[in-house]
């Protein structure tokens, strides 16, 4: 799927937030503690993504990221994953009646991977398919 650099895809929203289900897609390197960690070897990079179950306990999540620590200090999200992956905050919005729901799964990648060709040709189309299948109304994107 080749997208024009000039035209910006833009999907209007016709629902209020309190009727929308939101999915998180993040390049912050978040994953379940028992999922395979991202490959932080810069020579290899990592073009994979992880599926995070929607009912995950935020305490079961951690972060692996190849970026230098002075650029992205992963100590913060390891202490509280909501620093970069606001799953508990989304649930609180739902509890408050301000959001319709939280998606049944979320998707994560590790930025700083340098395998851009593989990511653009393979990873992103596969990831987009997962988003479309999920029936989420909208996606919140976060990085580190």
């Amino acid at each position: 799927m080749e997208l024009s650099r000039k035209a910006i895809p833009y999907t209007p929203v016709d629902k209020p937030l309190h009727e929308m289900t939101i999915m998180i897609v993040s390049t912050s390197g978040v994953h379940l503690k028992d999922q395979e960690a991202y490959n932080t070897d810069p020579a290899e990079g990592d073009a994979t993504f992880r599926i995070i179950p929607g009912d995950v306990d935020s305490k079961d999540l951690t972060v692996t990221h190849a970026a230098p620590k002075d650029h992205y200090n992963t100590d913060y999200p390891k202490e509280d994953i909501n620093c970069v992956f606001p799953i508990d905050r989304l649930r609180e919005m739902v509890d408050d009646g301000d959001l319709g729901g939280v998606a049944e799964k979320h998707l994560t990648m590790m930025g700083y991977s340098m395998r851009l060709n593989k990511i653009n040709k393979e990873t992103i189309p596969a990831l987009v398919k997962e988003v479309v299948r999920s029936k989420a109304d909208a996606v919140l994107l976060t990085a580190g």
């Binding site: 895809p9 929308m20 509280d80 905050r89 919140l140 994107l141 976060t142």
Partner: protein, 79 residues
């Protein structure tokens, strides 16, 4: 990635600290929490108040009519 998702008819909103990189991609909807450091783009650990404000600001982008391609600077004094 954002453009790929949006091209499938699913609206997106981005929280970015890397304004330079993100600007090149001309995101459909985005906020930049000004002054935040990498590692806590929604707010510091356990600062639920700021995290919630950033989340609300990002999701508000979805339902406000946008001129796509801009990154809106947002200020959060509680950070």
């Amino acid at each position: 990635m954002q453009r790929g998702i949006e091209a499938q008819g699913i609206p997106t909103s981005l929280i970015t600290l890397d304004v330079e990189q993100s600007s090149l991609m001309r995101p459909p909807r985005a906020i930049h929490p000004v002054g935040f450091e990498f590692g806590h783009s929604l707010g510091k650990p356990n600062d639920k108040n700021t995290q919630m404000k950033v989340l609300y600001a990002a999701l508000a982008e979805l339902v406000e009519r946008q001129e796509p391609g801009n990154i809106h600077e947002s200020h959060f004094p509680t950070y």
